[in-house]
Each structure stands twice: as structure tokens, then as C-alpha cells.
């Protein structure tokens, strides 16, 4: 699922352009809330450059929120901390340490131009950074009072409506037929409210219903389908953070405990070294991998202690246990979809109770943390008895412990984590990032996740969903000889010591990525990308006994972006995917698109259009591309079969603080008479969707 890379470049272009713009407009000052779409483009670019391995509908709201917040309230680089800088995902650890060391050594930054003298800060990074930071912003609770809070706080209310326009089968089945059908309407409705005071008080509420879900559930747990909320307080005496409600936890490298957003292998090679943000409020609408309860981070000098407690009902399928005559957990469901009666039956069926803590010791160069937590489930896990499930978790209770570290010396940053699930296996990851010269940086890490390592909140870098049953070694290389050229490559080799679904023997493979970019000037960028991945799976030639055969995926991508005038930017991409199983012929997928971006410096309107043509030989040669969307909307569709896709995005700013968005997308297939399968099936060859969104800031 790593193809989302592709889309990255898109954004890269947008980014370059936007930077170009703002540069001419007003050199380096971020300024307050100049909410042009340029700003959104920066955020979009950053997302695209870090988000590679996540699902098609993954919600990046948390990150967008964070970045948008700093757009409006820039970080004061002279008063910032490592933790805060880590929130800007595009900075790597070597850069963060270099910046903090520079300030420590030379005193406060007096001019942003000083940044150019810091190791590892190239022009692009500086430009990005200055969108979110400056050197003289007031911070903190300095002038806090309740009265101030309401006078100076910001509210933000956003409502989004979206709907597929073609009728799907699941909505047309009459109630009387008793067959499985979608109980709700095809609308997806999302409401989001934020209240912020100086980043010290933050109230978040999300209410969402997916397409097919009922507005107001009438069976089971009544009410809206998904409601999530949290109150987040920061810097109250020793309490650095307090969250009541929904929260996320990210520690170390994500082996023991990491919920919410994480990044894997991609064109931004340095994100393989995770930058943990500790306790966060949970503000996304992904309906899994978060906590509900109470958590706080208490600071005691060099130590930080983060205790947490959570109780939440999660979705799970049921299997009947004939011995105990009870229901066990078949599998945990992460989709968050509750459209049919059977999906509703699984909704919140199992209670997950979690408590634990993380104790962290920090000096300027060294950070060491110890984490431990226990999880208890109201039902027993009962995986199937296929050999590949042999080492899966069974039972109701699990204790996890881990130790994580990072250490910075000169131009090198070392990091790692060791984790253990008590009664089960161990997992380790260790690596480093180093700037070997002003032009060359490397990153390398080794991972060894035992086949019986268990953690529900495990998001370490892995080829699989969870970091288990895997050994591998990754090296990445970035060469930037000048502002105009950039070469990025990574090489990863991995082994899976135990069987996997569809792979009836220990297996292995590799993943190699290389991207060359040429930027002749600030508003033009060309890039060429190649990626090759080999893995093994059961051979289709197997008869009685399955044996493995290798399969290979190769992606070629060529992209160009250039600016026609101050308002229009064009972008093209061509991508070819080749898929080959050893015993079969090579199959191809092809995609080409044209983007037109309209981004005037001073107009209430902005928008973009894309026309894509695609032709793929089946599912294995599908091609992913990141698409522009409304703010906080994300779409990374997989193109398959043969056809044309078109979308248009528009934004209208009525006045400062009041914005509207509209998006229309249409896919027309030339080789299909029905689209989709099961309840999603559409009769016909076209599929379209409309999104409307409004936001009021006060």
C-alpha cells in the first residue's frame, strides 16, 4: 500500500510554487493567518511527503490541525523545545538538535537568516519552517485569565457533507426482504468544533456518520455513529499536558505504544526515525487506535511521567466458543463502518481497558524512556487455527513493557526501542541518522520483531500491519549537491520468519526506491522516480501443497510542474506500474494526469482541476495518487480498470474567518457495466461524488 508516495511529488510541486509566491510577496515572514490556499498547499505538500503507507481514507486531521495551528500561532524558535519542533513533521532529529545547539551556543536567534548557517538546514527546510515558526512570538500562559481566554481564544466550526451520486445496491434493498442492506442514508456528514486558547486550552469535538450509517442509531447504542471529544490543557504548573476524553499516545519508535498517525517508508527517508509526541488529544475521525479516559504528563526536572487510563468499546467480530458457551473475539475491526445490521452487531462489542505509564529522562543529548501498560478485554481473543495464526494473541489480558532511547552526538542521531509482551515475544529496532557532509545524509536501521511479539498499539515500521514476525535492515541516502538537484534512495531488505496469510512458508523480499529531482528555478520542478519491490507468496501453480514464488512490483514515475503565471500552475504526471509473478506474464498499469491550479494572490476564489486517464490490467497493477481535497478532507484513490477521472475543487472566502469549499469528482469506466461489488455495487459505468464544506472561525 505504499504507492501513495506517488502523489507526493504532486505536492512537492505545489509547495515549490507556493514558496515561490510567498517569497516574492514577502520574503520570509510567516505572519498571521494569511489564509490563502498557498498555506493549505504547504500543509498538503507536507502531508503528501510523509504519508505513504496509510489507507485510502486515512484521516490526517490531527496533523493538519497541528500545522494549521502553528500557521496561525507560529512557534517562537527562541523559546521552543525539542517536543514542539518534533510536531513539525518535516524537520528531522539531526536538524532539530542542530537548531537547539545553535541557540544554546550562540544565544537567541536575532535574524531568521541565521538559520542558513545551521547544519542540515537547506533552503527548502528553512522556507517550510518559517511558515510555522518565527523568532519573536509570545508564548505560554503568561497572561492567562478566564476573561482573556474568551476574548483571545479562537473557535472553529466546520461542517462537511458528502454523497455519492449514483445509487448503490445496498440502499435499494427493501427492509422487508430481511437481506443485508445499508440501514442509513448515502450521506456522509462530519461536524468538527475546536476551541483554542494560545495552544494551552484546546477543546475538540468531532461528530461523524459515514455513508450508509444512520444519523441517529435506533438499535444498539443510540445516538450519532461516531462522537469523539477531548479537553486538552497545557503547562499548568508541573502538568505539562492534561487530556480528558479521547487521547493518543506515541512513545519511542512505536513498538510498544503508538496510536494515531504514523509514517512508514517513503520519499521522506528521515521519517523512518519516529519522532514521538507523547500524549496528544485525539482529533481524527479514524474510528480506531485511540484512547478514551484520562492522561497527563507531569514534569519533574529531567523526568517526565505520563500516566494514562482508558476504557473504550471497540468493534470486533464474534466467534462462538462451543466449550465455554460464550462469544470470543474473532477479529478486531478497524474500518469504523456500521452500515449493515451485522456491522452494527460488532459495534463497540468488546471493552478494552488500558492503564499504564511512561517515564522519561531527558538531557540535552540523551532521552531514555521506560513504558509499561496493561490491557484487558471483556472477551477472549480466539484467532483461527490456521498455521499462520499460530503465534497470534489469545486470551484477555496482556502486559507490555518497553524501553526507548535517542542520543545525539555531533552530526549523528541514534535511536531505538526494545519491547516485550509479557509471556510472549520481544521486538527491537535500532538505527541512526547522520549528515555525513553538507550534501549527503544517511539513515539506517535494523529491526527484529519476533513472531510472537504482541501489542495492539504497535505501529513500528513494518511491511505488515503490525510489527511482528519480521527482520530487516534499511538504509537511506539523500544527496543534495545544490539547490537544483536532489537524489533520494533507500534500500530495504526483510525476512518473515513465520508464515503469513497467503504465504505458507517463511519468506522474504526487498524494497528499493530512488528519486531524482531537478528544480531549475523556484517554480519549476521535474522528478523521476523508480521503485522496485520483491516479495513471495503462494504460487498459483500450487496443487496439494502450497509453495512460494516471488512476485515483483515496479513503479516508474515522471512528473513535471511549472508555473504559467502568478495565478496558474500546471502539473503533469505519468506513472507506469509493472507487476510480475514468476509463473505469469508481466502485467501493466498506466496513469497520466493533468492538473491546473488556480491560486491568485488576492482573490476570494481559488481552486484546482485534475483530469486523469488510467488503464490497468487488474487489481495488482492499480496505481495510487494523492488528490487535492477540501480542507481536512483526504483522498488517495487507487486507480484500476480503464477510464477517466475528473475532479474540481473550489474554495471561496466570504470574509476573514468564513470559508466555503466544494468538490466534485467523477470517474467514468470504459470497460465496466457495473462498478464495485456486494452492497457497494453501482449499475452503470460512472461514479461521482460531491462534497460541500463550510467553516466559521471566531
Amino acid at each position: 500500500m505504499n504507492f501513495k508516495l506517488s502523489s507526493r511529488i504532486t505536492l512537492v510541486f505545489v509547495l515549490c510554487l507556493s514558496i515561490g509566491y510567498s517569497q516574492t510577496k514577502k520574503p520570509v515572514k510567516t505572519g498571521n493567518a494569511n489564509y490563502s490556499q498557498n498555506a493549505d498547499a504547504i500543509v498538503e505538500y507536507i502531508i503528501e511527503s510523509v504519508a505513504e503507507n496509510l489507507g485510502e481514507d486515512f484521516d490526517y486531521t490531527e496533523m493538519v490541525d497541528r500545522l494549521n495551528y502553528y500557521r496561525k500561532h507560529p512557534i517562537n524558535l527562541n523559546k521552543t523545545s525539542k517536543e514542539q519542533l518534533q510536531e513539525l513533521v518535516f524537520l528531522n532529529q539531526v536538524q532539530i538538535n542542530a537548531l537547539l545547539n545553535h541557540i544554546q551556543k550562540n544565544g537567541k536567534l536575532i535574524n531568521v537568516l541565521e538559520l542558513q548557517g545551521i547544519t542540515g538546514f537547506d533552503l527548502e527546510t528553512i522556507k517550510n519552517l518559517l511558515y510555522f515558526a518565527s523568532i519573536n512570538q509570545p508564548t505560554g500562559f503568561e497572561n492567562f485569565s478566564i476573561k482573556n481566554m474568551f476574548a483571545r481564544g479562537n473557535g472553529d466550526l466546520l461542517v462537511r457533507y458528502q454523497r455519492g451520486l449514483e445509487p448503490q445496491k445496498g440502499y435499494q434493498i427493501p427492509e422487508s426482504s430481511k437481506a443485508s442492506r445499508y440501514l442509513g442514508t448515502p450521506d456522509r456528514v462530519f461536524t468538527r468544533f475546536r476551541f483554542n486558547y494560545n495552544n494551552n486550552v484546546q477543546l475538540s469535538v468531532n461528530v461523524e456518520k459515514d455513508a450508509g450509517e444512520q444519523y441517529w442509531a435506533t438499535t444498539g447504542k443510540k445516538g450519532p455513529d461516531f462522537v469523539s471529544g477531548s479537553l486538552y490543557l497545557k503547562d499548568i504548573r508541573a502538568f505539562k499536558k492534561i487530556v480528558i476524553g479521547d487521547f493518543a499516545l506515541q512513545f519511542g519508535q512505536g513498538l510498544t505504544m503508538w496510536s494515531g498517525l504514523s509514517f512508514g517508508k517513503g520519499a521522506d527517508i528521515f521519517t523512518v526515525a519516529r519522532q514521538d509526541l507523547g500524549l496528544r488529544s485525539y482529533t481524527s475521525v479514524n474510528e480506531f487506535s485511540f484512547f478514551r479516559g484520562f492522561a497527563t504528563q507531569i514534569n519533574m526536572g529531567r523526568f517526565d511521567f505520563t500516566p494514562f487510563i482508558s476504557s473504550i468499546n471497540i468493534d470486533a467480530s464474534a466467534v462462538f466458543n462451543p466449550i465455554s458457551q460464550t462469544e470470543d473475539i474473532g477479529s478486531i475491526q478497524q474500518s469504523g463502518l456500521h452500515r449493515t445490521q451485522s456491522e452494527l452487531n460488532g459495534k463497540g462489542r468488546v471493552n478494552q481497558f488500558i492503564y499504564g505509564g511512561n517515564l522519561q529522562y531527558k538531557t540535552k543529548r540523551l532521552a531514555i524512556g521506560v513504558i509499561g501498560y496493561q490491557s484487558a478485554y471483556s472477551e477472549k481473543f480466539a484467532p483461527n487455527d490456521a498455521p499462520y495464526s499460530k503465534y497470534d494473541f489469545t486470551g484477555k489480558q496482556l502486559s507490555n513493557v518497553g524501553i526507548h532511547y535517542n542520543y545525539n552526538i555531533k552530526n549523528t542521531y541514534f535511536y531505538g526501542e526494545a519491547a516485550h509482551s509479557v509471556g510472549y515475544g520481544f521486538a527491537f529496532v535500532n538505527g541512526f541518522i547522520s549528515s555525513l557532509s553538507p550534501v549527503v545524509s544517511v539513515v539506517a536501521f535494523h529491526r527484529n520483531y519476533q513472531k510472537n511479539y504482541q501489542s495492539y498499539f504497535n505501529q513500528a515500521i513494518s511491511e505488515n500491519t503490525f510489527a511482528k514476525n519480521e527482520e530487516g535492515f534499511y538504509t537511506g541516502l539523500q544527496i543534495k549537491p545544490s539547490k537544483k538537484f536532489e537524489l533520494i534512495s533507500y534500500f530495504d531488505m526483510f525476512k518473515f520468519p513465520w508464515l503469513k496469510f497467503g504465504v505458507d512458508a517463511p519468506s522474504g523480499g526487498f524494497d528499493v526506491f530512488s528519486q531524482f529531482a531537478y528544480m531549475p528555478n523556484k517554480v519549476t520542478r521535474f522528478s523521476l522516480r523508480y521503485r522496485i519491490r520483491d516479495k513471495e507468496q503462494n504460487s498459483p501453480l500450487s496443487t496439494n501443497i502450497n509453495f512460494l514464488e516471488p512476485y515483483r512490483r515496479q513503479n516508474f514515475r515522471l512528473e513535471a510542474q511549472y508555473q504559467v503565471n502568478k495565478s496558474f500552475t500546471l502539473r503533469n504526471r505519468i506513472e507506469v506500474m509493472a507487476f510480475k509473478e514468476e509463473s505469469d506474464i508481466q502485467r501493466y498499469g498506466f496513469m497520466a494526469y493533468q492538473d491546473v491550479n488556480y491560486n491568485p494572490l488576492s482573490s476570494k476564489f481559488s481552486g484546482n482541476v485534475r483530469l486523469t486517464m488510467f488503464q490497468t490490467e487488474g487489481f495488482d497493477t492499480r496505481i495510487y495518487a494523492y488528490e487535492s481535497d477540501v480542507l481536512y478532507g483526504f483522498s488517495i484513490p487507487a486507480y484500476q480498470n480503464q477510464g477517466i477521472r475528473f475532479y474540481i475543487n473550489g474554495r471561496y472566502t466570504l470574509r476573514r474567518g468564513v470559508d466555503f469549499w466544494i468538490r466534485y469528482a467523477l470517474t467514468q469506466y470504459s470497460n465496466l457495466t457495473t462498478i464495485g461489488s456486494g452492497l457497494d455495487e453501482i449499475n452503470g459505468n460512472q461514479k461521482s461524488e460531491i462534497k460541500l464544506q463550510a467553516r466559521i472561525q471566531f
Partner: protein, 266 residues
């Protein structure tokens, strides 16, 4: 386990007949991408790389293939400047008692200018298989290195272009190959090298490697080769006249092959 590994080894290495000379731990640790690198181990890679040596150097290496105790490659290289030329000699033996390959090489290298280096090499190959007998062959190699930019060396190497064989009685092939590539010096601490290689009747390969000197006397190295996908790592220690290097390669199926070398600069 060892038995089966040995069997796999035979299947992969002997019968695919791709057994190649050992490049020494430094070039090996850089993924084998050594066609544009210069040191005494260029004797086993691209002999033009010895042409700029100013002092006699000798080095010995021992490689343990796939951590199987019985299978080792033992190599020795030597180079000495003689007036305008640098003369080089190499010796290598490889295999187990029942199957043994030996290669002896002599090179003549010359710097036609500080930017253009060339070398010719003659190798004498011996193959010895118990109960089957012995076979012998001569092959020739030509290498060139050119400094295209201040920091960029390009290299090319051709081995056994006339496809010499041990004779009609054996299928064992002496590989004929063409290699070319470059090495770029980013700073006095950092070199990155690449190499493209095509072996006759076998697949093409791309290799790349990096060498970083943490301090003057200590270097870390790493590399990859694409076909098959292999990873490499190693380090080197230079103490006065003594050169110590370690390298390890990782084959996706056969596993690790570590090696070390000890050299002396006179």
C-alpha cells in the same frame, strides 16, 4: 542445518558458476562498487586503481563464505611502483578440499597523466576437483580510470573478453564481464561509488557504496547490490603503516559472508 546450507551453497554458487574473485573487505563493504576506486585491492577489481600508488603495499584477506566453516576464500595482493609503472600481483584460492579454484594474476598499471590511469592484467586459473582432475586457463583483463571532474573518478573494466575456458572437458565458466561506474568524493571524509556490471550469460547488476571516515584513521562503509539484492557493511582502520579492514555481505538466501584483511604499507 549445515549440511543443507552446504547443499544450497553448491547449488547456487558452483553450478551457477558465478563465483568471482574476492574484492577485499573495503570494496566488498561498499557493495562491490569499486570500479572507480583506488587502493591495492583494485588488483582484484579494476587494476587501473593501483596506478597512483607511491609505496609498495601488501595485503592478505580471509573470507568465510556464508558462515560455513569449510568454505573460505584466501587472497593476497601486492603492488609496487617501478619507475613510471606500478606492478601488481595477486593470488587467490577458493573452495573446499574436494573443489578448489586458484587464480594468480599479474598487472601492469600506468598513470598516463594524473587524470588517466590504465592497466592490463593476465590471470592464470586453476581448477581442481577430486576424482575428476585438474584444468587450467589464462585470461586477460583491461582497466581504465579517468578523473572527469575534481571530485569525480570514472572507471571501466573488462575481463576475459575472449571468453577463455578451462577447456572442452568442463562446463566451469570463467566469467567475462564489463563494468563501469564512478566514485564521487564529497569531502575528505566521504566517498560514494557506483558500478554497473554485466556478466556474459548472466544478469546485469547495479551496485552502490559509501565510505565515511569518522576520523582520519577509521572509516565506516556500507553498500548494496541489486541483482540479487544484497546488503554490505564494514569498517577500516589505518594505524601508521598497518591497514586493517573488515567487511560483511548478506545474501538473501545464503546469509552472511564476513571477511577481514591485514595490509602493510612499506
Amino acid at each position: 542445518m549445515k549440511q543443507s546450507k552446504l547443499l544450497v551453497f553448491f547449488l547456487f554458487v558452483f553450478f551457477s558458476a558465478k563465483s568471482q574473485v574476492n574484492n577485499g573487505p573495503r570494496i566488498t563493504a561498499m557493495g562491490g562498487a569499486g570500479v572507480a576506486l583506488q587502493d591495492v585491492w583494485a588488483m582484484q577489481k579494476n587494476q587501473a586503481g593501483i596506478a597512483l600508488l607511491t609505496k609498495p603495499i601488501a595485503s592478505l584477506a580471509y573470507e568465510n563464505k556464508f558462515l560455513i566453516k569449510e568454505i573460505a576464500t584466501k587472497s593476497a595482493v601486492f603492488a609496487i611502483p617501478v619507475s613510471k609503472f606500478v606492478l601488481g600481483a595477486s593470488f587467490e584460492t577458493y573452495g573446499v578440499n574436494a573443489y578448489k579454484q586458484t587464480q594468480t594474476g599479474l598487472s601492469l598499471a600506468r598513470a598516463f597523466s594524473p587524470k588517466l590511469l590504465m592497466a592490463v592484467t593476465v590471470n592464470y586459473h586453476q581448477l581442481q576437483i577430486n576424482n575428476y582432475g585438474n584444468a587450467k586457463a589464462f585470461t586477460a583483463q583491461v582497466g581504465v580510470q579517468y578523473q572527469a571532474l575534481k571530485n569525480l573518478w570514472l572507471g571501466a573494466h573488462i575481463a576475459n573478453p575472449n571468453s577463455s575456458k578451462y577447456g572442452e572437458s568442463t562446463d566451469q565458466i570463467i566469467p567475462a564481464h564489463i563494468q563501469f561506474g564512478g566514485s564521487y568524493t564529497f569531502s575528505d571524509k566521504l566517498i560514494i561509488s557506483t558500478e554497473f556490471e554485466k556478466i556474459l550469460d548472466s544478469q546485469a547488476d547495479f551496485k552502490t557504496g559509501i565510505e565515511y571516515k569518522i576520523i582520519k584513521a577509521f572509516a565506516l562503509r556500507g553498500g548494496v547490490s541489486m541483482n540479487p539484492f544484497k546488503q554490505y557493511a564494514g569498517f577500516g582502520l589505518a594505524l601508521e603503516n598497518l591497514l586493517f579492514d573488515f567487511g560483511i555481505s548478506s545474501h538473501p538466501i545464503l546469509g552472511y559472508s564476513p571477511q577481514l584483511s591485514l595490509g602493510y604499507e612499506f
